[in-house]
């Protein structure tokens, strides 16, 4: 992992100068940013790859952005008004405040984040943290809660809302189930190993079931060796510092997950951000890194690590893996691929984006993933060459300090992987993968037909539906719950301020009838709230009537 590549500068000079000028001309002419829709096409290595790279990020009409800013502005004004009332004493403050003796110290609660929480999030927080009282399968039960003082406090009425269709859980292959036959092995392992491990991997928490799981994960991914950790977030944030350090360069995608960003910051390496899925931006940064080296000393970088994700969960877009690998090989960088959402969910046999693009898994230096999404368990893994994994076993913070994965969870992952690979003797795994792909295609096609703006690749089971305005986001969540559909809506801190969205996660456990019900209610709510902003030509379908938007833009 620590190759110095001292000859890099001299070898690359002649190639670099030729390519650099060619790129500059093409780069400038290829800059096309239209106001209405942008479609990103791939390099076209073949029909399959061209299909996979159809991703569209349609922009909404201008009035939508104006109304979004206006809405946020008005609520911010009212926020200042309410803060004034609280400061004067006309209103009771329900949140934390500084003590009287500390009023002259540096203020703790006046930054924008606290302002936003107090004045915007608190008003509408009944749409988040809803308590669930059944397993998060395709349908679940919610506890009914009401608030008497505008969401400052909640109380439970004692009733449950049964059979709410679950469009928010990351249950891509439907392994969040409580079928007694399927869970028999898990129950046996609890009897054999107990529920807790009471130690870290390095000390005395390395169980034989962990070794079995790691062997299975390595076989599943087609790599030499793998290591598993108890928590997915900690897999990223605790292992990146073990791989890179000061003097290394991290090139990270714009929309990377917080765990990757945290791991990168903790490592102490220099971080540069390239535009989302934009190979020109990445190549320019690679060239600059190799030409100029480290900031002041101009020495060569010890390591260059490109960090990308398989499926980006807020956009539903898929990384352009063949192009990234070509760039990595050309510039001798290393690649860290986070397949949290894509492992098990894409690919013909569920092997993730490497299978989707027909790429050799040995080309990716560090393959990381989590077991939370498609396997119905918790935890993460890092896989790759044997030397890498052996190094991590000694040097990773997670291995040394974090408690090992619990035995029933480990057995759940083992049974899920065996099911997907077909090793349990049934075709259940293949059936689920096929069902997920069908559900995804159907759901996305119908949503596009209806006229919603959807981001992302057609193969990804994560479907963000753009809502934009803060009032509509809240109304959408409430209306869908009234119609017994549970959705996850995401707003400002996690997404850009003008692009609030509802994120649907399609599952293999959803039947066609459930999806049709969801789509029917989505259609109604879309008309009620005027959410159908898409201005693309829709393919006419015999089942849907050709009605124009009941909106303001006609």
């Amino acid at each position: 992992m620590q190759n110095r590549n001292l000859n890099r500068l001299s070898v690359e000079t002649s190639n670099r100068s030729r390519h650099f000028w060619r790129l500059n001309r093409n780069g400038r002419s290829r800059k096309s940013t239209h106001a209405t829709s942008r479609q990103k096409h791939g390099a076209g290595n073949g029909v399959a790859s061209r299909q996979n790279k159809q991703e569209s990020f349609e922009q909404a009409p201008m009035y939508v952005a104006v109304c979004t800013y206006m809405g946020f502005g008005i609520v911010t004004l009212f926020g200042y008004f309410r803060d004034f009332l609280r400061a004067v004493g006309l209103e009771k403050c329900n949140l934390a405040q500084e003590r009287e003796e500390q009023k002259d110290f540096v203020p703790l609660y006046q930054d924008f984040e606290n302002f936003y929480t107090r004045n915007l999030y608190m008003r509408v927080r009944d749409n988040w943290n809803r308590p669930i009282c059944s397993l998060p399968g395709p349908v679940f039960d919610l506890m009914e809660r009401v608030s008497d003082d505008y969401n400052w406090t909640f109380r439970f009425t004692g009733r449950t809302i049964p059979n709410v269709i679950n469009m928010g859980s990351y249950n891509y292959l439907g392994f969040a189930e409580n079928n007694a036959d399927f869970l028999k092995t898990v129950a046996d392992k609890v009897q054999q190993y107990g529920a807790g491990v009471c130690s870290t991997r390095q000390e005395i928490g390395n169980l034989s079931i962990h070794e079995e799981l790691e062997q299975l994960v390595a076989n599943f991914l087609g790599v030499e060796s793998a290591m598993t950790f108890g928590m997915g977030f900690a897999t990223n944030s605790m292992n990146i510092p073990a791989l890179v350090g000061k003097g290394c360069l991290i090139l990270s995608d714009e929309l990377n997950h917080t765990s990757l960003i945290l791991g990168a910051r903790l490592s102490g390496a220099t971080i540069r951000v390239f535009k989302h899925n934009n190979m020109h931006s990445l190549e320019k940064m690679l060239k600059e890194a190799i030409c100029c080296g480290q900031p002041r000393t101009h020495r060569a970088w010890r390591k260059i690590l490109i960090m990308v994700e398989g499926i980006y969960s807020m956009e539903g877009s898929v990384v352009r893996l063949p192009e990234v690998i070509a760039l990595k090989k050309k510039y001798k960088a290393h690649l860290y691929l986070d397949e949290a959402h894509s492992i098990g969910a894409v690919g013909a046999t569920g092997r993730g984006v490497t299978e989707l693009f027909n790429v050799n898994p040995a080309d990716v230096d560090v393959m990381m993933g989590t077991f939370t999404k498609s396997f119905g368990a918790s935890g993460g893994y890092i896989a790759g060459k044997k030397e890498l994994v052996d190094y991590l076993r000694c040097h990773s913070h997670s291995a040394v300090y974090a408690s090992a994965m619990s035995p029933p969870v480990t057995e759940q992952i083992i049974r899920a992987i065996k099911c997907i690979m077909g090793k349990d003797g049934t075709t259940e795994g293949k059936g689920r993968i096929r069902q997920l792909a069908e559900n995804t295609r159907y759901f996305r096609a119908r949503l596009k037909e209806m006229g919603f703006i959807i981001y992302g690749n057609d193969d990804s089971p994560v479907v963000p539906v753009l809502l934009y305005m803060p009032g509509k986001v809240v109304a959408f969540a409430r209306e869908m719950l009234q119609r017994k559909i549970g959705v996850v809506v995401v707003g400002f801190p996690a997404t850009p301020i003008t692009e609030a969205r509802a994120r649907f996660c399609v599952s293999a456990a959803h039947t066609r009838a459930m999806l049709n019900q969801v789509l029917h209610h989505l259609n109604e709510v879309g008309d009620l709230l005027c959410l159908k902003f898409s201005r693309r030509k829709r393919p006419s379908s015999c089942s849907l009537s050709e009605e124009t938007d009941v909106g303001l833009d006609s």
């Binding site: 109304c67 206006m70 809405g71 946020f72 008005i74 609520v75 009212f78 915007l120 008003r123 509408v124 505008y150 305005m469 803060p470 009032g471 509509k472 809240v474 109304a475 008309d527 009620l528 709230l529 005027c530 009941v550």
Partner: protein, 78 residues
């Protein structure tokens, strides 16, 4: 969407107004404050236009009439 009567259509339009301006998330008394401020602003605009627009239109028309239509009259008197 089918509206049974005009009142339902008006309440849907009011709902759209609440959503677009972002008032939907506020408490009822804050909604009333915003609505009354907006209504009084619009009322003042309407009243001002009622008072001043006819006068301004008349003056503007006279001004242009003097430039273009006034010339034949002056030559006739000569």
């Amino acid at each position: 969407m089918n509206f049974k009567n005009f009142r339902e259509y008006l309440s849907w339009l009011y709902f759209q107004y609440l959503l677009i301006t972002g008032i939907y998330v506020l408490e009822p008394w804050e909604k009333s404050i915003f609505n009354s401020v907006l209504f009084s602003a619009i009322a003042m605009v309407v009243y001002t236009s009622y008072v001043f627009i006819p006068i301004h239109m008349r003056l503007a028309l006279e001004f242009f009439h003097e430039i273009f239509g006034g010339q034949p009259e002056s030559t006739m008197t000569l």
